[in-house]
Structure formats: structure tokens, C-alpha cells
């Protein structure tokens, strides 16, 4: 039974989700107008996962993020101005224009950074968890990763170490159903990716990643467990990316058209083939 938030909580949740959505739309707009360069991976449609997950965190907790990481940063509390400045390659950006979209970090507040390498953040999250344990603090590291990273050796090695050492890490797998063009249903012969958690002897759970309260509840349970010193958990959040990753020839997906609660009357661009704008936002 998902706990109903108070009106104030609900407002805060909605505000975070809208901040992510509007930030991403602004990026898309600036990119489309040629005012932003590089590579941008938008998380439009996935806002509920970082928003719900980060609600379970407290000061000193860490996150590791992915190449599709703007939402994680914002949900963890990143300043929108410094984030946008980074994407615009400005010296007052989070990384002084050295990192860009795939490397935004705010290490002082526990955002250990986005990552340009699929799976790159997983062992780092295990290390942050180990550090928390060795330093004797009750902080937890939330490791956002995509379904695409589940095929990486880094995924298996990080889960192996985290489970062996009972590290305070919560692995949040954003299953947006495609690793670039590879359907996760085709890639992994399990009903749910979370079934793989059993192989590490840790709790695994699949939640509706477009239901922000369901995400919050599952992650809170896992974070509490980690804080008690009982070790890592794995949460698969089913979601869908609306922009910037659909590749040639994909069939429409069951999740297409669903929205984590931010739908508004705006004509949806035809998707299914790369167009110039789309291609610009994803290699």
C-alpha cells in the first residue's frame, strides 16, 4: 500500500518533476536552435524515478548517475543555473565547462557525478558505500543505472562486492526498455531484471517507475535497510524515455504515450526514425 503524501509533500514532488521536465525541454529547445553543442541525453518521461528515489535520501547520502543524468542531479538538489551553465560550456557551470552533460557532478553534496561510460558508476557506488561503512557513517549511496548496463561486467562486479560486504548501496535500475537500440526484453532472458538480484542474495524488486510514490516507497525501504547495515538492494523501475534514443525501425512500445504525470496538451513529435533534431540529441 503506497503511502499518500501530504499536500505539501505532493507539491514538492510535483515541483521536482516539473523542474526536470522543463529543464530537459529547455535543453532540447536550445539544442534544436544550435545554441548548445555536444551530446545530450534527455530524461523526459523518466522524471518519477530520480524524484521518488531521492526523496528517500538525507544529507550526506550519495548518488552516482549515468549519461542520461540531468534528472538525477536535479532530484539530488543541483542548482539549475549551474547545471544549465555547464551544458552551455560556461565557466560558472558545475564543472567549469570541462565536463558537460555526461559529467555533471556536485561532489560536495554527494552527487558523485554522471558518467559517460555505461556501467561506469556501479563500482564507484560500491566504493562510496564501502567508504561510508569504513568511516562509520550511516550514509547510503544510491546507484542510478540503466538497463543497458546490466550486460556490463562492471554491473556484476559491483553487485558482487556490494553484496559480499553488505555495503550501504541501493542499486536503482532505470529500465527504460532499451539499451540504445537493444530491447531489454530481448537482451535479458528473465521476466524482470530484478530477478537477477537473487543471484547475489540481495532483495530485488520491480516497481512502476512512472509512479513516483511507488518508487519512493520501494527505495525508502531499501535505503532504510542499507542504513541499518543490512546491505544492498536492487530496485528495477520500469519507465520509458520519450526523447533522444529511439532508433531506426523500433516498434511502438506499450509505455509510449504514458507519462509519469506531467502530460500536457503538446503535439508529440513523430518518433521512430532519426530526424535531424533527434539525432542531434543522441549519437
Amino acid at each position: 500500500m503506497v503511502e499518500t503524501p501530504t499536500a505539501a509533500e505532493g507539491l514538492a514532488i510535483l515541483r521536482t518533476m516539473w523542474r526536470i521536465r522543463l529543464f530537459e525541454e529547455a535543453v532540447e529547445d536550445l539544442y534544436g536552435r544550435g545554441m548548445m553543442h555536444g551530446t545530450m541525453h534527455l530524461s523526459i518521461g523518466e522524471e518519477a524515478v530520480p524524484t521518488g528515489a531521492c526523496l528517500a535520501l538525507k544529507d550526506g547520502d550519495q548518488i552516482t548517475s549515468t549519461h542520461r543524468g540531468h534528472g538525477h542531479c536535479i532530484a539530488k538538489g543541483a542548482d539549475l543555473g549551474r547545471s544549465m551553465a555547464e551544458l552551455l560550456a560556461k565557466d560558472n557551470g558545475y564543472c567549469r565547462g570541462r565536463g558537460g552533460s555526461m559529467h555533471i557532478a556536485d561532489v560536495a553534496t554527494g552527487n558523485l557525478g554522471a558518467n559517460g561510460i555505461v556501467g561506469g558508476g556501479l563500482p564507484i557506488a560500491a566504493g562510496a558505500g564501502l567508504s561510508n561503512k569504513l568511516r562509520g557513517v550511516d550514509n547510503v549511496c544510491l546507484c542510478f543505472h540503466g538497463d543497458g548496463s546490466v550486460g556490463e561486467g562492471a554491473w556484476h562486479e559491483a553487485l558482487t562486492l556490494a553484496s559480499m560486504w553488505d555495503l550501504p548501496v541501493v542499486f536503482v535500475c532505470e529500465n527504460n526498455q532499451y539499451g540504445m537500440s537493444m530491447p531489454s526484453k530481448k537482451a535479458f532472458k528473465v521476466e524482470n531484471i530484478s530477478d537477477k538480484a537473487a543471484g547475489f542474495g540481495i532483495p530485488g524488486e520491480t516497481v512502476d517507475g512512472n509512479d513516483v510514490l511507488a518508487v519512493r516507497e520501494a527505495v525508502q525501504r531499501a535505503v532504510d535497510r542499507a542504513r541499518r547495515g543490512e546491505g544492498p538492494s536492487f530496485i528495477e523501475a520500469l519507465t520509458y524515455r520519450w526523447r533522444g534514443a529511439l532508433e531506426v525501425g523500433q516498434e511502438p512500445l506499450p509505455h509510449q504515450g504514458r507519462d509519469p504525470g506531467l502530460a500536457r496538451p503538446r503535439p508529440h513529435r513523430a518518433m521512430g526514425r532519426r530526424d535531424a533534431r533527434h539525432r542531434a540529441c543522441h549519437p
Binding site: 552516482t64 558545475y94 570541462r98 558523485l112 561510460i117 556501467g119 563500482p123 569504513l134
Partner: protein, 330 residues
């Protein structure tokens, strides 16, 4: 005169780690079989009994995971030492070394750093064949953001490890597996060392021999033999190949007018190619009386057969032959 004592290269590393961990609670070690097994080469030995299994931390066989855990711990206030059992296995951990550890400080605009020390044995001579005997230093020195250290004796192995632990950025220490059991005279207190400072191992006037790791020892032995033949060789150990103490090398080359560059790694694209280029680009080039000469490992995987293994990397006799030719022919 300072008092000295005798200890092996492995014992010096162990003592330095113990010293660092006793002084700084942030320092810990993790790696494969470093606990009760004592390390594949016995470097950690009984450290886990003294420091506990939290700080001498046995891992699964997961080089990429261990390296990433080192990166994450270093980012969040710890000073991890990651031991990779053979430097060849760094290939399994490359993403975390090259794409993460080396770049993070720069990528995040300097707001964080990764004070990670990686220790890994390299080199041939143990019959471990092609996947356990490589000298891969040039790969790592090629990556901006990594420092690469190659200690050639026990004192340097300890002092450079302590210096690496004080560095705010990742440092890879490539130890040599043939040196682990060798005994050396070491001072009572390990002297302070600087990363990027080379050492004149032996002074000479006829030629300069620059050598790394085990080849420093072979070059020193060769220099003894050369002296008996009336050739005075100066032997230089850069100690850290990145940052590189090029001024030390250039000054020696200007003095002697001849230079022989000796490494165990294969010649093509090797570290000594960088040293050769550094000399060629400098005014010291004008002081050369002979072409720069390199003596390196053959361009082949390290073979299993002991005769072939020896033949594939520079030995003392090879250094004597090349140095003699360099002096007598020019």
C-alpha cells in the same frame, strides 16, 4: 652516517603500508588474496593480523569492481590502495583506471580528486608466460591524469609508495616481481621522496644509461663490467616515468655525449621512445656524439621457455654489448 638495515623489496612495501595505515585511518588496502593468503607474492603477508580484515581487505576476483570501489572510496574521503595481483590484470580494470580515476578531477572542474594508489607487479622472469609478465607502463603514462612509478629497489619502493599516498591524484606503482624477494640495504627511516624526481644511481663520464625497474639493477651490473673495460657509464633511474625528470637525463647526456636507453617493455611506442624524443627535442641533442640508442624487449609476447624468456628482454650482457658499441664505434 645513517644506520641501515637489510630488508627485501616486498618487506619494504609492507612496512611502508603499515606505517601509512598506522598514521592515517583513511588508508586501507584491497585486492585479491591480500588477507590470510598474504598476497600472491607475499607482500601483505601478516598485515591483516595487525590491521584487521577491514583495512587489509580481501576481494573477489573482480579487478574492474575493485578498481571502481577504490575510485568511489577515494572520492568520498578515503585513501585506498588497490593491489592488482599482476599488472596484466589491469586490462580487466581499464575503464576505471583510464576513464574514471584519471579523468575525474579534470572532468568535474577540479571540485574533487581521486587519491587512489594502485600497486601492481609487472615484468618477466618468473616463467609465468605471456599473460602474467608484461611491462605496460607506456599505456598508462599516455593517459593524462595518471602518474606512473617504477621503483627499482626497496628504499624507493617504500618511499615512493609513501609519496604516492600523499598525492591528491591517482598514482600507479608498477613493482617488479623479480625484485620482491631480493634484499637491499635500506635506511632506518624511509627518506622522503618526490614523484617526478629521478636518481643518479652511478656517476660516469663516457655514456649515460637510462634504465627503469629491474633494468636499473642490470644496468648497474653492466656498468661494473664496463668499468673493468675502461668505460665509465653513468646510470640514471627516472623512478617515476610520469612525471618525468627529463632535466636530470638531459644534464647527464650533455655531460657524457652518449645515451643508451634500457627498458624491459617492447621498443615500439615504449617509454624510452618518449625519453629519446625528449632528448632529441632539447639542446642536449647538440651535445650528442653518437645517435641515441634504445635497448628494449623484443616485439613479442613473453614466452614460457626460460631461455626464450631471458632472450626476449635486455640482460646484463646485452647492456654491456650495446654500451661498448656505442662508445667504441662513436
Amino acid at each position: 652516517m645513517t644506520a641501515t638495515r637489510t630488508m627485501t623489496y616486498a618487506e619494504a612495501i609492507r612496512e611502508a603500508m603499515f606505517q601509512a595505515m598506522t598514521a592515517d585511518p583513511r588508508v586501507f588496502l584491497m585486492g585479491e588474496d591480500v588477507g590470510i593468503y598474504g598476497g600472491a607474492f607475499g607482500v601483505t603477508n601478516d598485515l591483516y593480523e595487525k590491521l584487521g580484515t577491514d583495512r587489509i581487505r580481501d576481494t573477489t576476483i573482480s579487478e574492474l569492481g575493485i578498481m571502481g570501489a577504490g575510485v568511489g572510496a577515494a572520492l568520498t574521503g578515503m585513501r585506498p590502495i588497490v593491489e592488482i595481483q599482476f599488472s596484466d590484470f589491469l586490462c580487466q580494470a581499464m575503464d576505471q583506471v583510464v576513464n574514471q580515476a584519471a579523468k575525474l578531477h579534470f572532468m568535474v572542474g577540479g571540485q574533487a580528486s581521486v587519491p587512489l594508489v594502485i600497486r601492481a607487479p609487472g615484468g618477466s622472469g618468473t616463467g609465468a608466460a605471456a599473460q602474467h609478465s608484461q611491462s605496460l607502463e607506456a599505456w598508462f603514462a599516455h593517459v593524462p591524469g595518471l602518474k606512473v612509478v617504477m621503483p627499482s629497489d626497496a628504499t624507493d619502493a617504500a618511499s615512493l609508495l609513501l609519496a604516492a599516498l600523499e598525492d591528491p591524484n591517482p598514482v600507479l606503482i608498477l613493482e617488479h616481481k623479480l625484485l620482491y624477494k631480493q634484499s637491499f640495504e635500506v635506511p632506518e627511516v624511509f627518506p622522503k621522496a618526490l614523484l617526478g624526481q629521478g636518481r643518479i644511481v652511478r656517476e660516469g663520464t663516457d655514456l649515460t644509461i637510462v634504465a627503469t625497474s629491474i633494468e636499473v639493477q642490470r644496468a648497474s651490473e653492466a656498468a661494473e663490467l664496463l668499468a673493468a673495460d675502461g668505460i665509465s657509464a653513468e646510470v640514471i633511474d627516472p623512478r617515476t616515468i610520469k612525471p618525468l625528470d627529463l632535466p636530470l637525463i638531459l644534464a647527464s647526456v650533455s655531460k657524457t655525449g652518449r645515451v643508451l636507453l634500457v627498458q624491459e617493455a617492447v621498443k615500439f611506442n615504449g617509454f624510452m621512445s618518449e625519453v629519446a624524443a625528449g632528448i632529441a627535442e632539447s639542446p642536449a641533442f647538440g651535445d650528442l656524439q653518437a645517435p641515441i640508442r634504445r635497448l628494449c624487449g623484443l616485439d613479442t609476447p613473453i614466452p614460457y621457455s626460460p631461455q626464450l624468456e631471458r632472450a626476449s628482454v635486455p640482460q646484463v650482457a646485452d647492456i654491456v654489448r650495446e654500451a661498448t658499441a656505442l662508445v667504441k664505434e662513436w
